[in-house]
């Protein structure tokens, strides 16, 4: 006969496992805190470092959730962020449009870029990863070309946001915005038709098309939603950093690598917690971990990335534990 179901937590995942994960996260953070001799969890460190540094990777990870949802592994997102954020800055500073320019432009630019990648992948039938790499080269190049032109006329190659335009990048505004985005993402992912359809396509493409879900339409809508989220991340990023320099040779991949790790961690946990929540937890964890490493003297740009690479490798292996098919 039918068993009584285990007590349900959020979005019908087992409550017991969710509490377990939360406890695990807290325990790991406390351990790191203790190893640093109590330095890590100071109010100042949390509000100045851990939380703000969690914002960009987590928001980008939410964007990736939608874009990668149908299998399109688009790594041009990094280049899109650089391009979108800088165009926003250009409109804000050079064109004098202030916040209006800063906020509207990145959304438009990144949505257009993402649709370009989707076009290459869906209509030109270029494999998703190549489409992402190729478009990434193009987006980077556009930024570099503009930078090279600007350095000849305006003297400085990189555009910097004036201090008065950087409110969005400071505590507590940036974290508040992240929380607002979280709520929106959670609702879209779990409580709208597009979110449900996206999860269905990712879970079982055959059943999804049999019940009438139009894969292409869902993919395009999801890509646009994801691009908008990435746009928000771009605005938050340049507000915090003040300026983002152009990259070339796909160095922009490094900008989104943390977000990629967060996404992969959330994906491997998705039978325990809903992905938006998983990404939030993973983002805070990764940020804490790197803050811990920094306090312990491990420099950013070196061993931190090695550990990040190891995390991605482990997640990549874990994700395929039960996979029986051909892997290339």
């Amino acid at each position: 006969m039918t068993k009584t179901a285990a007590k349900q937590g959020f979005t019908s995942k087992p409550l017991f496992k969710q509490i377990l994960l939360l406890v695990l996260l807290i325990v790991l953070i406390v351990i790191m805190h203790l190893i640093t001799g109590g330095k890590m969890l100071s109010m100042k460190n949390i509000t100045k470092n851990i939380l703000p540094q969690a914002v960009f990777p987590t928001v980008v990870a939410w964007g990736m959730m939608f874009i990668f949802g149908t299998g399109l592994v688009d790594l041009s997102i990094g280049a899109q962020v650089i391009l979108g954020a800088n165009i926003g800055a250009i409109l804000a500073m050079d064109a004098g449009l202030g916040y209006v320019g800063l906020i509207i432009a990145p959304f438009i630019v990144i949505v257009i870029c993402e649709l370009m990648v989707v076009f290459c992948s869906e209509f030109l039938k270029i494999p998703g990863w190549i489409a992402g790499l190729g478009c990434g080269l193009i987006f980077e190049a556009i930024m570099v070309m503009w930078t090279q032109a600007r350095s000849k006329t305006a003297g400085s190659a990189v555009i910097t946001l004036g201090d008065d335009l950087r409110v969005l990048g400071r505590w507590p505004v940036n974290v508040i915005i992240m929380v607002v985005i979280f709520v929106i993402v959670y609702l879209i992912y779990n409580r709208t038709s597009i979110g449900i359809n996206l999860k269905a396509i990712g879970g079982d493409p055959g059943v999804s098309s049999a019940v009438g879900i139009n894969r292409r339409k869902a993919l395009i809508i999801a890509a646009i939603i994801g691009a908008v989220i990435v746009g928000a991340a771009a605005i938050l990023n340049i507000s915090k950093a003040g300026s983002i320099s152009a990259s070339s040779g796909l160095a922009s991949l490094s900008t989104i690598f943390k977000a990629l790790a967060v996404t992969l961690i959330a994906m491997s946990l998705n039978s325990w917690i809903s992905e938006p929540v998983g990404a939030l937890g993973a983002g805070i964890f990764v940020s804490s971990l790197f803050n811990f490493l920094t306090i312990m003297g491990v420099q950013a740009g070196t061993l931190q990335e090695v550990i990040l690479g190891a995390v991605v490798i482990i997640c990549g292996v874990l994700a395929r534990l039960n996979y029986k098919g051909v892997a290339k």
Binding site: T2, K3, T4, A5, A6, Q8, T11, S12, K13, P14, L187, R191, T192, S193, I196, N197, K199, A200, G202, G203, D204, G206, V207, S208, A210, V211, G212, I213, N270, S271
Partner: protein, 503 residues
């Protein structure tokens, strides 16, 4: 004049050169429970998928309630009140049961911009209530539900669109006794006068079919053999119509006696693969053709991978007797001059986008190398490929022709020739004449007869009983993943007797 709810006229579905459904003419009266009987590959699932809009017919017409009916997709079929529970479909694992029920239609439950989960749940519970279905737990994710509960959920999903024509594909084999009772009660209610529904049912359980269905249609090789009210069938007749075939021409063996050498080539002891094979043991002799037959899901197609070494968690002993060598994996079989040809030549055997020459060369290159650096001379490879192509009469425009552009028969010749051109001692052939025209079939049987004379041992796995009967010295009959019997050509090869053992 009976009230016909669904009619098909010269309905055909071809996949490239394969005729999955060939000229089907069917009339289903309202209120009937029509059972589709037939072996795997007989065309039942293709017919069901065309009616519910998953496939489009190659030619022919369908009529629903007298109007032309050509659903563009399953949702279109749903709008015509045609619903289905299909075997290969199922549910989306990561989503919860209620969402699964209304997947694709979630827009109907919007309150504001968001989908109302509680609204969907109410509607779900109402559906279960209305049709008296077993109340499966609606929490958790669908992937964690038992297979049984999943099937009931799929039934609820189909019923939630308020259908008048319902297709049930292999639904009862997943259900326990209690749930089956619920299902039968439901079927009765659904097809009663007040509700006026009609059901198309596909099931392997012939007893169930005889009990529940009002009419039965038998399919074989893509064609409808007969459609009658159930009362006009006997069980025996039903089985014979399903399995027996016209044996025309004498392209099988002419002799009626089992006839092979004493020497044992392979000794198989207690071969077991969890979920697929249970304690299979036999000896294979030089010059013997050992047939393996049974219903398609009785386990016959698991024998090949198990012997070859591709199955997981395989237990038991397989010994190549002349060298007393245990066959633990594919390498062992290859190195003892054995070969295994899987039944799915396109997926497991051939490289479709490569040329005939390239396909033939792959299993042979290890035998053609020269010197300590394993030099492979293209000239030698070509010579061998040519020899194989000529020996096996492969019809092509040259060795460079891409295999995808060959007909099924020629593809199979490429598949076979690349192995049989070697000096093999034993071969496992799984459905070697599947999807192959009569001329090539006869040719392949001729090749098998020649191999037998040379002393090569053959295991012939086949889901065509006449073929197994026509060619084997002994016949290993499998049922429910176990050995049901080992029959001898000399004494036991009477069709009815074999069918009895099989079923």
């Amino acid at each position: 004049m009976a009230d016909i709810v669904l009619k098909t006229e010269h309905l055909c579905k071809f996949f490239g050169a394969t005729k999955a459904n060939n000229d089907l003419n069917l009339e289903i009266p309202r209120g009937a429970v029509l059972g589709l009987a037939g072996e795997n590959g007989s065309g039942k699932s293709t017919l069901a998928s065309m009616i519910c809009g998953i496939q489009k017919p190659t030619s022919g017409k369908m009529y629903l309630n007298g109007q032309e009916y050509a659903p563009a997709n399953p949702v279109d079929a749903n709008e015509h009140h045609v619903a289905m529970v299909l075997q290969e479909l199922g549910v989306v694992g990561p989503l919860d049961p209620v969402t699964n029920m209304f997947l694709g239609r979630t827009g109907k439950f919007k309150s504001g911009p968001l989908v109302s989960l509680s609204g969907m749940k109410k509607e779900a519970e109402a559906t279960f209530e209305k049709w008296n279905l077993t109340k499966v737990p609606l929490t958790g994710v669908a992937g964690n539900m038992s297979i049984e509960n999943r099937k009931v959920l799929e039934l609820a999903r189909a019923l939630s669109i308020d259908p008048k024509f319902l297709i049930l594909d292999e639904i009862s084999q997943a259900l326990s006794h209690d749930n089956r009772k619920m299902l039968y009660k439901f079927i009765e209610h659904f097809t009663s006068q007040e509700v006026g529904g009609t059901i198309l049912m596909v099931t392997h359980d012939l007893e169930e079919m005889m009990e529940i269905c009002t009419h039965i249609s038998v399919l074989r090789d893509g064609q409808i053999i007969d459609t009658r009210p159930t009362s006009e069938y006997t069980m025996d007749e039903l089985k014979r119509l399903m399995i027996g075939r016209e044996v025309s021409g004498d392209y099988y063996r002419a002799d009626q006696e089992e006839n092979y050498q004493q020497d044992v080539v392979l000794k198989v002891e207690h071969l077991t693969v969890p979920g697929e094979l249970n304690d299979i043991s036999f000896d294979l002799h030089k010059g013997e053709i050992l047939g393996v037959c049974g219903l398609s899901d009785g386990g016959i197609h698991s024998v090949g991978p198990a012997l070859f070494g591709l199955s997981e968690h395989r237990k038991g002993n397989i010994v190549y007797v002349p060298a007393n060598r245990q066959l633990k994996g594919p390498k062992d079989m290859i190195q003892t001059n054995g070969a295994y040809l899987s039944k799915d030549r396109d997926a497991d055997g051939l490289m479709l986008d490569a040329s005939i020459g390239q396909n033939i060369s792959v299993p042979n290159v290890r035998l053609l190398t020269q010197g300590p650096f394993k030099f492979l001379s293209p000239a030698r490879v070509n010579k061998l490929a040519n020899k194989a192509s000529v020996d096996f009469e492969i019809k092509s425009s040259g060795l460079g022709q891409v295999v995808k552009s060959l007909s099924g028969g020629n593809k199979q010749k490429v598949n076979l020739s690349r192995w049989l051109v070697q000096d093999l001692e034993y071969v496992i052939l799984d459905c070697p004449t599947r999807g192959v025209d009569i001329g090539v079939k006869a040719y392949i049987y001729g090749v098998m007869k020649q191999m037998k004379e040379k002393g090569i041992a053959i295991i012939l796995i086949s889901d065509e009983l006449p073929e197994a009967m026509g060619m084997s010295d002994r016949l290993l009959v499998m049922k429910d993943h176990e050995m049901a019997g080992m029959l001898s050509r000399t004494t036991d090869f009477i069709e009815d007797k074999i069918i009895e053992v099989m079923l």
